[in-house]
């Protein structure tokens, strides 16, 4: 059976019963899933047209005490004729802020590796099964990962950069 967007939405609803699906006017399908299902859904979507992971992003909802991970998928499939035919898929999942941990999706999309490392160093989300979860960009050690909402940048600047003394003038 040739997959198209309508078919896919129906199939998704049938296969993954407890996910929430909304379709938007601007060609975006949003899927809200539980964190255990993410890998399965991604694998299913990869087999059905959506073969490119464009981005993994993270949002810190500090008042709700949770992180939201967003996997953005697009299609580079050969059968695709136009963007309108497939659009994008935003797969969203929520994980708790106290013990943020989720399964790595590298076995599905290999290019997830740097995204997961980046989210690990900037938000402190652990990806279980990631082969080398080490900092990607940052040089210094931070007590709180710097992109979390409770990271106080001004206090950090005051403590670290402003405490470094000015070079004294030379004695004549």
């Amino acid at each position: 059976m040739k997959m198209n967007k309508k078919n896919l939405i129906q199939q998704l609803k049938l296969t993954f019963a407890d996910t929430q699906l909304n379709e938007h006017e601007d060609d975006i399908i949003k899927i809200h899933a539980k964190k255990e299902q993410v890998k399965t859904i991604l694998r299913y979507l990869k087999d059905n047209m959506y073969n490119h992971l464009a981005l993994i992003s993270c949002v810190d909802w500090i008042n709700k005490e949770e992180f939201e991970l967003i996997y953005i998928l697009t299609s580079y499939h050969d059968d695709k004729k136009s963007y309108k035919e497939t659009g994008d898929i935003y797969l969203k999942t929520k994980i708790s802020r106290d013990n943020p941990e989720i399964e790595s999706v590298i076995s599905v999309f290999e290019n997830a590796e740097p995204y997961e490392r980046e989210i690990y160093e900037l938000f402190g989300v652990k990806f279980s099964g990631h082969p080398r979860l080490i900092p990607l960009f940052l040089e210094r050690d931070y007590e709180v990962p710097p992109f979390r909402k409770n990271f106080d940048t001004r206090k950090y600047v005051k403590d670290v950069f402003e405490s470094i003394p000015v070079i004294p003038e030379e004695e004549e």
């Binding site: 960009f137 940052l138 040089e139 210094r140 931070y142 710097p146 990271f151 940048t153 001004r154 950090y156 600047v157 950069f161 402003e162 405490s163 470094i164 003394p165 000015v166 070079i167 004294p168 030379e170």
Partner: protein
């Protein structure tokens, strides 16, 4: 060149040579480097002022720090600066190296660059236009003439303070000190 200048140039031929052959390290930090390609190519033509970009810090004596300096870049800046031969002149380009600019409360940007390496002059602005580079270069000529562009001498004299600050920002440095440090003084 008129006659008066001939005598002046012969009197202090070293300065004369340094002034008109400021070779700049082609080192890109931050967004300011976008102003450098137009400055060195035909429209503004920095070679009129003796400024040409060179690939290696060992051939250069002008260091333009173009734009914000992240902690990771600072490490490269120090290493590049220490490899340059004397006399060497540094110019901070844009408002970010001066005091952080729009990154004044960033967790990962160096705020005041002259705490880590010595700076001869600053070009303020976000972004400065290529003309500002030439104003800075002509100012640097004046400073060289008067013997005031001696930040590299300050670096040698005050090296222990610079090294201490660099270690505060970057942690332990993996290269040995450039100049001997006497702790007893």
């Amino acid at each position: 060149m008129d006659r008066e200048q001939v005598i002046k140039a012969l009197k202090d031929s070293g300065k004369w040579g340094h002034k008109y052959s400021l070779w700049a390290v082609y080192f890109c930090t931050g967004c300011g480097i976008i102003e450098i390609p137009p400055s060195i190519t035909s429209r503004w033509d920095a070679e009129r002022f003796g400024v040409i970009p060179v690939a290696s810090p060992r051939q250069a004596n002008l260091f333009l720090i173009t734009g914000y300096v992240s902690v990771k870049t600072l490490r490269a800046i120090i290493r590049t600066y220490e490899q340059m031969g004397e006399p060497k002149y540094t110019v901070g380009f844009g408002s970010c190296p001066i005091n952080g600019g729009m990154y004044w409360d960033s967790y990962n940007t160096i705020k005041k660059l002259d705490k880590y390496i010595p700076i001869d002059g600053w070009i303020a602005g976000c972004m400065p236009r290529p003309e500002a580079v030439f104003i800075a270069v002509t100012h640097l000529w004046t400073l060289i003439d008067k013997g005031m562009a001696n930040a590299y001498k300050k670096y040698r004299k005050q090296y222990k303070y610079y090294r201490k600050n660099q270690e505060m920002a970057l942690g332990k440095l993996e290269w040995p000190p450039l100049y001997p440090i006497n702790e007893d003084e």
